[in-house]
Amino acid sequence: MSLNLNVAEWAHVQEVDMARHIIDATREVFSTMMAMEVEDCYPLVEPVTEFHCSITGMVGLAGSYTGILSIHCPAHLAMKMTSNMLGMEVEEVGEDVNDALGEIANMLGGHVKQVLSKGGLDLNLSIPTVISGETYTIRSMENQDCVVIPFRCDGERFLVGVTIRKEC
């Protein structure tokens, strides 16, 4: 797993730079919107494609580049994040948690878009998609063009990944 070579060349960004952008963006989103501190554990040692009792928020990027930004959280952590965002107790995975994970993915995707896009008009962000379940597999996470950052927050681990390509 690594940053696509065409992306590195066109965007003048190396994998370690992309990882740093994602880490900085994730810290900013968590501290500003949730009053939560995160610790990055980059690099990811073993690829992760299967998730258990988790929630995944994703946004697509299309235009001058194509790809997906995704955040994968254990359900318990996602409820805590949503609770902090909304300032109220959240005790089940439902509409609020799904919407919050989608919005977090949207904010992180916007940051990645700023890294890749010249002015914002050449690259579009999709509306967020959220999936959850007891066990599911995300195929984009085994893609060789994927950069994945593991984080720890509130005693739990979560992942932020970006799979991005430049068609030449």
Binding site: V29, T32, M33, D96, M107, G110, K113, G120, L121
Partner: protein, 120 residues
């Protein structure tokens, strides 16, 4: 006191903006909510609104089209984009369409107060 319209497809973000407006101590009376540009235009057509806060990336009608149509319908209230879109070209397009400013997500109540204090 002022009436504020929040146009954002995320119910979480609408709640956060509402809470941040209160925390920032801004002079807000009624807060109206819309989940996309179409709902936003309907809200403008049936309410007196003093300030509009709009996302850009939304389904059905995005924020750029919403601003254009709001101005075409005669909306005189300031419109501020609150968005993850930080690219200068897309912000310039929003301003050319009739927006009065932009705030990047994520934001703090202090940043809202700084950007919106003069508009309310």
């Amino acid at each position: 006191m002022s009436n504020v319209l929040i146009v954002d497809d995320s119910s979480t973000m609408r709640k956060i903006i509402t809470r941040s407006l209160r925390q920032a101590g801004l002079s807000v009376d009624t807060i109206l909510e819309a989940a996309d540009g179409i709902e936003g235009l309907n809200a403008l057509g049936s309410n007196t609104v003093d300030l509009v806060l709009s996302d850009i990336n939304m389904p059905n009608m995005d924020g750029l089209e919403f601003v254009k149509q709001a101005r075409a319908q005669g909306c005189k209230a300031p419109i501020v984009m609150i968005t993850t879109e930080g690219g200068e070209d897309i912000i310039a397009e929003a301003m050319n369409s009739g927006a009065n400013g932009s705030i990047r997500k994520p934001f703090t109540p202090d940043q809202l107060q700084e950007k919106l204090g003069g508009l309310l």
